[in-house]
Symmetry: C2
Subunit: 638 residues, 2 copies
C-alpha cells in the first residue's frame, strides 16, 4: 500500500523569515515515508522520533551490484568568520536536483557540534529556504553520536591514568592476579582482548598459569610514559578553561598528577575513526589500534593494550549508523560524523556516502560537504577520505561570496555580531577584482585532483550583476568548468536550478578515472607536508619546531610514516596566519608540533597556534535560546 | 485493527544462563505494540529504534480524571558490595503482577550510569529471568538522557568561568555593549532572559538605553566569587583523576586558574532536577534558579543570571520524556533519571511515576525503586520525592538476602570479584540471627512513614528453609505486614507470585492518608539533619565541621533553610562508617560539608568522606565487553 510521494511546496516569503521560523512552519514528512520512498527497507531503519532515523550499513551490501551515483563534493574559498553558505548550498543544490529536476539526490553532511550552536556561530542546518528539518533536532543531540564519542573517548582516558596508578602501586603478581583472576575452580583465563597483547609481546601461550615471571611482567606492565601521553579528554562544549588543566590532584592520585587538556569532541580521534571507517569490523580494528602514547621504551600503547577496544566499539555501535533526515523540500539527507576541518579532517562519514551512492544509483547524485575552505576541507576529502574509501568523486562545487572575496581584496575586517562595513553592501568592482585571486587559486588547486569544478556564487541581495559577471568570467579563466549564480537561501531549490544543471553537466563530462591524489603515501612525512604546503597553500617552504622534528622521527621509527597527512591549520587564510587574506606568497609554513592518529590513520601536524577547544563570547548564542512553554517551540536557535 | 497481546512465555533453563545470554535469546515485542497495549496513543510515543520509545508528558493531562494505581516502592537493607537484588525484585514483582496475576503493573526504574557498567558493578537491568530488555540498550546510551545532562551541566560550567574572565578584562561599557548589542538601526534590547536579572536587581526599565551607569554596572557584573563556586563539571565515566583538578592553565586563562573537580553525571544537580520536575515548565523554572555560587557580596548567582537557563531547558527537552521499555515477560517499564542514592537522592523521576499511575489506573500497580538501603533511598523517596510530587505511596517492599544479613551478623567481608566465604554458602542460623537486626531496624523505620511493609526474601540456592523461616518470623515481629520468599531470578514472574500477592494485600489494607513525612520543612537545617540521623540511622547526635557550620549559616541567611535534606552517606552501613555492620549504636554522625541544590530543591550534607566520582579497578568490566562481528551481538555485558 504505497502512498504517493509529493515534494512539499515551499511558500517563499519576503523578506526571508528567520531560520527557526521557516523551519518550524513546515511539517516534515514522517521519516518512515522518506525512507521507503528512497528505497530503504523497513528492517534497515531505526526510527528516532518521527523525523530522524538511523539507517543500517547492511544497505551497502544489499545493493552491492548497483552502480554508484555521481559523487559531488561541496567546498569553498577561505571564508569570513560568518561562513559563506557551504551547508546552505549543499542543501539548496540537493533540493534543486531532487524536488525540481526529479533526480534522486542525497545530501551527506556532518552533525554539528554543540560548541558553536551555543557559542558564536549558531547551528549548521543550512539557512533560509535551504535547510535540514527539524533544524532543532539536527542542531541538538540528533541521535546521540557525538555523545557516544565523548563517552568512548573519556572511558579510554580514564583507563590510561588509572592503569598508570595501578601499575605503580601493585607488584607484578598482584596485577596479574587481578587481570586474570582465579575462577571458583582455581582455573584462570585470558580475556579474548588480552590475546592481542600477548601476540604483540611474542607470547604464544594461552593459559595464564604457563607464563614465566618475566612474561607476566611484560604482560601486566604497559609502562606508559606519563609525560608523553597524547590522548586527551574531550567535551562537546566551548569551555576554554579546559585548554590547560592539571588532573590527579585528589588525595589518592596526587603522586600521579599531570598537565593535560580537553579538546572539543569533534576534534577527537574517535570522531575521525567514525568518519573514516568502512564497516563495523573496520571500526573495531581502528578503535583497538588507536595509540595513546608510548611506553617508556618507546613502544606505542594502544586501546586494545588497555583492554578497552571492544568496549569502545560497543559504545559506538549505534553511532556507526548514519542518521536520515530531510530538507525543507523533502529530499533525503544523511547526517553522519562531524569532525572540524581546521583541527581535524573535516568530512562527514564514508559509510554515509557509500549508502547514499548505492541508494541514489547510476542516475542519482550524492552531494557531500567538506568543511571550511578547499585548502583544508577538500584537500583532506581527496587525500584522506577518498583514499580511505577508494571512491572517486566526479565534481567539486566551490562556494564563493562576493562579500568574502572583497575581504580578500583588502576590505575591512568582518566580525561576527557587528554590522558589515559599507564596502560590502554596495558595488565595489576594484575590491572584488583584487580579491578574486583567492577563488582562482582554489579552482587551480581543485583541478589538480582531476575533478570537474563548478563555482557557485552564493548570492546576497546587495550583489550587483556587474560583480557577478566579473566573478563568472574570472572563474572560467582560472579553469572552472562553469560558474553560476545561486539563490537558494531566498528561493530554496528553485534558486539553485542553474547550479544543479551545471553540476549535472560537469559530472557527465568528467571521467572518474582521471581522479588523482596530490601525493603518494610512500613519500616521507616531511615530503608529504611540503607537497601540501607548496602545492595547495602556496608556501615557499616549511619550518619545523624541535618538538615537531622529534615527533616526526618518533613516528617514522614506529613505522607510521606511510600515513596521509591531516593538516591542522586556520581556515581563514591560505597560509597559517588568519590575517593574511587573498593569495599570500613568500611565507614559510611553521609546524609547531606533530601528532599521530593511528586508529583514524593519519599524521596530524599543527600549523601555527591552533586551539583545540573553542571559547564562549561575552554574549553566547545561548542567551536567545529557550522553549515557549505554551507551544513547546524552540526559540532563538539559528 | 488491534492485534492480540500475548505475554511471552519464558523457557526456564537450569543452571540459569548468563544475563546477556538470557536477554539476547528473547525477541522483545515491538515497542509500538507495547505502548498501544498499555493505553498510550500513537501521537504520545516517539520511537527510538524498535524496542525503546520516549513517552510524552501530555498523557498525565489526558488521563487526569483517571484514578491513580497502587503505588509501591522497592527498597532494601544495607547491602553487601554485590547488591541484594533490588532491581531484579522490582522487575520480577512486575512480571508476576502483570504476566501472571494479569494486573497492569508498570516498573519505574532509573537509567544506569555508564560508570559502573564499564567499571566494577556492571549493568542494572535486573538479572536472571527478571530483566529489562534489550539489556544492552538499557545499559548503554538508552535514549541519551544522561548525555543531555552532561552537556547541559558543562555548558553552565563553561559559562561561569568564561563570564568571570570576561568581567575581569572588560569595562562596564564594553560588557554592556556586548550583552545588549546595537542592531543595524541603532536600537538595543534585552534578551527575554535578562528581564529576570533586572527584576532581581530591582530595575524595572525595559530599554537598555535607559539604564544609569550604576544600573549598568549592577546588571553586567555578576561578580561571582571564584573561591566559592559550587558548580562542578561532570562526566558519566569512572575517572578518579578528575576528583581534584586545576583548570584555566591555558595561556590566556592562567590568571583565573582555580581548583575544582568533576562529579559523575548521575550525581549532578541537573539529574536531580530531571528526577524531581513535575512538568516542562517546572523543569524550566528549576534549571533557571540553580545556584552556582555566591557573588562576592554573598548574593546567590543562578543559571538565569548567566543567561543560560533557557538553553539548558532546550538541551533537556527530550530528556524530560521517560523511556518505555519492557521486561522479559512483556510487562511495561518506564526508565527515567538515574541519580545515585549515596551522593544524590537516588530515585527515578516523578513524571514517570505520574504517567504510570495514570496508565495503570485504579486496579493497577506502579512499582518504583529507591536506590541502595532504606536508610537513604527510601527516606529520600518519602521526604524528598513524594513531598515534591504530592503522591502518597501505599506500600514499601524491603528486599533482604540471607547472605547480607549474615554479613551484618559478623560474617567475613564480602568483596566483589572474589569467591564467597563458606559462612555464606551453607546454613548458619547463629550468624543470621545476629544479623537480622539490620532488617528489623529498616522495617521499624519504614513503618514510621505510615506505609505497608512487605519483606521480600530474595532467595539464593544455598539458603535453607530454616533460615528463611527465621527471617519470616523475625520480620513479622519487627512489624512487617508480611514476609515472603521470592525466586524471580531463577523463575521470572512465576517465582514472585507470592510476593505479588503479599503486595496486593498490603496495598488493599493500607490507607494512603496515613502516609506521613519524617519531618516538617519548617524545622531548621540542623534540626532536620538531626531528625534523620537519630530516627533513621540510630545516631546519638550530629557533629558539624567548621565548613559545614559556615554553609548552614550561609544557606539560612540566603533563605534556603526551608528545603528538605538529601544526605550524602555511605550505603554500606546505617552509620557513616561502611565498616559498621548490623545496627550500629553509640555513634555521632559527622557532617563534613553542606551544599545546596536550589534548583533540585534540597540541602545536601556530606556525611564523612564521600567520593563524587568513582574510579576503575585494575580489571574493569570493559575487558569482557565487545561485539561479535559475525552476529552483531554484544558480548560480556552483565
Amino acid at each position: 500500500m504505497s502512498e504517493e510521494f509529493v515534494y512539499p511546496q515551499l511558500e517563499l516569503l519576503k523578506p526571508v523569515p528567520s531560520d527557526i521560523d521557516i523551519a518550524s512552519n513546515v511539517t516534515p514528512i514522517h521519516i518512515a515515508k522518506i525512507a521507503k520512498h528512497y528505497g530503504i527497507l523497513e528492517d534497515e531503519v531505526d526510527q528516532y522520533g518521527k523525523y530522524k532515523a538511523k539507517v543500517q550499513l547492511s544497505i551497502i551490501d544489499r545493493l552491492k551490484d548497483q552502480e554508484d551515483a555521481n559523487y559531488v563534493v561541496v567546498t569553498g574559498i577561505n571564508p569570513t568568520p560568518l561562513g559563506e553558505g557551504k551547508s546552505t548550498t549543499t542543501i539548496g543544490l540537493c533540493q534543486a536536483l531532487g524536488a525540481h529536476l526529479k533526480k534522486t539526490a542525497f545530501a551527506c553532511i556532518r552533525q554539528p557540534s554543540q560548541g558553536p550552536t551555543f557559542g558564536i556561530k549558531g547551528g549548521a542546518a543550512g539557512g533560509g529556504y535551504s535547510q535540514v528539518v527539524p533544524m532543532e533536532e539536527f542542531n541538538l543531540h540528533m541521535t546521540g553520536d557525538i555523545h557516544a564519542i565523548t563517552a568512548a573517548n573519556n572511558l579510554l582516558a580514564a583507563a590510561i591514568d588509572t592503569r598508570i596508578l595501578h601499575e605503580s602501586t601493585q607488584s607484578d603478581a598482584a596485577l596479574f592476579k587481578r587481570l586474570c583472576p582465579e575462577a571458583k575452580d582455581g582455573s584462570r583465563k585470558f580475556a579474548p582482548i588480552m590475546l592481542g597483547r600477548l601476540q604483540k609481546l611474542g607470547i604464544t601461550k594461552t593459559n595464564p598459569n604457563d607464563l614465566t615471571q618475566e612474561e607476566i611482567s611484560k604482560f601486566v606492565r604497559l609502562d606508559i610514559d606519563p609525560t608523553l601521553i597524547t590522548w586527551n579528554r574531550v567535551l562537546d562544549t566551548n569551555d576554554r578553561f579546559l585548554r590547560g588543566i592539571t588532573i590527579g590532584q585528589g588525595k589518592e592520585e596526587e603522586r600521579f598528577q599531570r598537565k593535560t587538556n580537553f579538546d572539543i569532541s569533534v576534534a577527537s580521534e574517535i570522531m575521525a575513526v567514525l568518519a573514516l571507517s568502512t564497516s563495523l569490523a573496520d571500526m573495531r580494528e581502528r578503535l583497538g589500534r588507536m595509540v595513546v602514547g608510548p611506553s617508556k621504551a618507546g613502544v606505542p600503547i594502544t586501546a586494545d593494550d588497555l583492554g578497552v577496544g571492544g568496549a569502545l566499539t560497543v559504545l559506538m555501535k549505534d553511532a556507526i549508523m548514519p542518521t536520515l533526515m530531510q530538507t525543507l523540500e523533502g529530499t533525503p539527507v544523511l547526517v553522519h560524523a562531524g569532525p572540524f576541518a581546521n583541527i581535524a579532517h573535516g568530512n562527514s562519514s564514508i559509510v554515509a556516502d557509500q549508502i547514499a551512492l548505492k541508494l541514489a544509483g547510476k542516475d542519482g547524485f550524492v552531494v557531500t560537504e567538506a568543511g571550511f575552505g578547499a585548502d583544508i576541507g577538500a584537500e583532506k576529502f581527496f587525500d584522506i577520505k577518498c583514499r580511505s574509501s577508494g571512491l572517486k568523486p566526479n565534481c567539486a562545487v566551490i562556494v564563493a561570496t562576493i562579500r568574502a572575496l572583497k575581504m580578500h581584496g583588502g576590505g575591512p575586517k568582518v566580525v561576527a555580531g557587528t554590522p558589515l562595513d559599507k564596502a560590502y553592501t554596495g558595488e565595489n568592482i576594484p575590491l572584488l577584482s583584487e580579491g578574486v585571486g583567492n577563488l582562482a587559486h582554489h579552482i587551480k588547486n581543485l583541478k589538480k585532483f582531476g575533478v570537474g569544478v563548478v563555482v557557485a556564487i552564493n548570492r546576497f541581495s546587495s550583489d550587483t550583476d556587474a560583480e557577478i559577471d566579473l566573478l563568472v568570467s574570472r572563474s572560467l579563466e582560472a579553469g572552472a568548468d562553469s560558474a553560476v549564480m545561486t539563490n537558494h537561501w531566498e528561493e530554496g531549490g528553485k534558486g539553485a536550478i542553474d547550479l544543479a544543471k551545471a553540476v549535472q553537466e560537469a559530472c557527465l563530462k568528467t571521467q572518474p578515472e582521471n581522479f588523482k591524489y596530490l601525493y603518494p603515501l610512500d613519500l616521507s612525512i616531511k615530503e608529504k607536508i611540503e607537497t601540501i604546503a607548496k602545492e595547495i597553500y602556496g608556501a615557499d617552504g616549511v619550518e619545523y619546531s624541535a618538538e615537531a622534528e622529534k615527533k616526526i622521527q618518533l613516528y617514522t621509527n614506529q613505522g607510521f610514516s606511510n600515513l596521509p597527512i591531516c593538516m591542522a591549520k586556520t581556515h581563514l587564510s591560505l597560509s597559517h596566519d588568519p590575517e593574511k587574506k587573498g593569495v599570500p606568497t613568500g611565507f614559510t609554513l611553521p609546524i609547531r608540533d606533530v601528532r599521530a592518529s593511528i586508529g583514524a590513520g593519519f599524521i596530524y601536524p599543527l600549523v601555527g597556534s591552533m586551539n583545540t577547544i573553542p571559547g564562549l563570547p561575552t554574549r553566547p548564542c545561548f542567551y536567545e535560546i529557550d522553549i515557549d512553554l505554551k507551544t513547546g517551540k524552540i526559540l532563538g536557535l539559528s
